[in-house]
Amino acid sequence: MTESLVHSVNWNIDYKVNLGRAWSRFLVSLRDDRVILGTTCGSCDKTYVPPQAYCEACYEPMDAWVEVPPTGTLEAATIAQHAFQGGPPAPYAIGAIALDGTDTLFIHLISGIDLSDQENARTLLRRGTRVRAVWSQERTGSIRDIDHFAPVG
């Protein structure tokens, strides 16, 4: 049996992505006003956060912008114990949040509790937990202008 060789290959490539009108307005509003904006479909009345230019259910253009409160109810969360290259340091929690007044689940980081005690944290992040957005000090027009959502009350 000959020796089995393995070569290391590295790609390091930068990209630029146009976020478009809907997402630009959403992120600028997070950055400048600390306000979460959604779009509402005039046909089916669903409110989307992040906003979308067209309703995914009706394919109607959505130009009705609404301000959404920075509060919601946790539908589900997962507490990650391992970091990966480019991701946040572990442990960290990702949640699916039903923001008040919306029809979508907003995905974001959940923090503000002790995540190192996994079983206790699971209880604190159970379905139905009320959460509120915690804003970043430095805001750059990114989804992380909301640093995380934290359980309230």
Binding site: V17, W23, T78, I79, A80, I94, T104
Partner: protein, 389 residues
């Protein structure tokens, strides 16, 4: 009368971890293709189209599929098709082959499911790139977190204990132990299996990174009959579906609504009224073992929240009334596109009466193969195979 597409032969390689693999991806594909052709009785020169799967980002090249095809010894001028739909690439390869045959574009199509995950040093960092740019990539989400979110949502909605999730893993590993093509064939030591990954998933519930390849030969039912090598397995119905890309577009993580829609459509195509009773064997794509619960419900095998009963009462074993993932599924063997094509291969072997490892379902006449993947399990494919007389 329609000349249906049929499975003429399948080829699976042994699987191992990428670190122990001595063959290149191309060499693995050559081996799988050799086996599939030998199994079918077709010669290389008779192949008139090849469909190969590829998932962007997992290879140290942007043209992986295309680099494999010229090494397969096919006739010059053979049509080449590349499928690239994330976690359903393997299922999509098979569906496209069936479409080419049904539509009369080709008569003998080779499906190639390469080994996808051998390369990346940090696989989860690559999977993160499948998440929506700007909105979800920056949140530290990778494949296993998607699996965790669905499992957590299902668990909290229906009050399912961790023990049920562990049982899902144990049963699939029990099946893998008998499958000569499976990667993880021994249970992990309990303390290793209990290592937290992302709640509620532990190491024992998540798939390994595997290396191996799968190939399948699809032809017309007439040619399959003429070849007379294997019982003829008709591709009775197949299809694919996509959900929204954003996790934030969903309303619920305790089910995959689009899979239920797809299942309704293809059951109708296959003339199936009662899937639980009329399907003899299933291979469903659950790299995170508890996914099985959600998928079984979406596929209409039981009501919402009832799948834990199927796991607890032994229905999913070879002697149960709904044998599921007798191969061990991708939870025990996950070489990427090869694993997504494998459900079709295992179902075809069951219907041919050639299942390896003592897991042959008695009188299996009809089976279902599923694959899913991409961000938040956005895509799904299904195929229903039937043994014809």
């Amino acid at each position: 009368m329609r000349n249906h597409a049929a499975v003429a032969g399948v080829g699976l390689t042994a699987t191992t971890s990428p670190g122990r693999q001595t063959a290149s991806k191309t060499e693995l594909c050559q081996e799988a293709v050799d086996r599939a052709l030998a199994h079918s009785g077709l010669r290389r020169a008779e192949i008139d189209a090849v469909v190969v799967g590829n998932i962007d980002g997992f290879e140290a090249t942007s043209t992986a599929g295309r680099t494999i095809v010229p090494a397969l010894g096919l006739a010059p001028g053979t049509s080449v098709y590349i499928v690239n739909t994330g976690g359903t690439t393997g299922g999509g390869v098979f569906n496209l082959a069936a479409s080419l045959v049904r539509g009369g574009e080709a008569e003998r199509v080779l499906c190639v499911g390469p080994s996808t995950f051998d390369g990346p040093v940090d696989l989860q960092a690559v999977i993160n790139t499948a998440l929506p740019v700007a909105m979800e990539q920056p949140l530290g989400i990778d494949g296993v977190h998607v699996g965790g979110m669905f499992a957590a949502a299902y668990q909290s909605r229906y009050g399912v204990a961790d023990e049920v999730l562990e049982l899902c893993a144990a049963q699939q590993r029990e099946h893998a132990a008998k499958n000569p093509y499976a990667h993880i064939r021994k249970p992990l030591p309990p303390e290793t299996a209990a290592t937290p990954i992302t709640t509620p998933l532990t190491l024992g519930m998540v798939c390994p990174v595997s290396s191996g390849a799968t190939a399948v030969v699809v032809t017309t039912e007439t040619i399959a009959r003429r070849l007379d090598r294997n019982p003829v397995v008709r591709i009775a119905a197949y299809g694919s579906v996509a959900d929204t890309h954003l996790g934030t577009g969903r309303h619920d993580f305790s089910s995959c609504e689009v899979l239920a829609l797809l299942a309704d459509r293809i059951y109708k195509d296959a003339g199936i009224m009662d899937p639980r009773r009329e399907l003899d064997v299933l291979e469903i794509f659950s790299p995170y073992a508890p996914m099985q619960l959600i998928l079984l419900e979406d596929l209409g095998m039981c009501g919402r929240g009832e799948a834990p009963h199927l796991v607890r009462d032994g229905s999913l074993h070879v002697d149960g009334d709904l044998p599921t993932n007798l191969s061990g599924g991708p939870h025990s063997t996950n070489p990427g596109v090869a694993a997504q094509l494998a459900p079709v291969a295992y179902i075809a072997l069951q219907l041919m009466g050639q299942a390896a490892g003592g897991v042959q379902v008695a009188e299996a006449r009809r089976g279902l193969a599923h694959s899913t993947g991409s961000a938040w399990w956005q895509f799904h494919t299904l195929a229903i195979l039937e043994k014809t007389e």
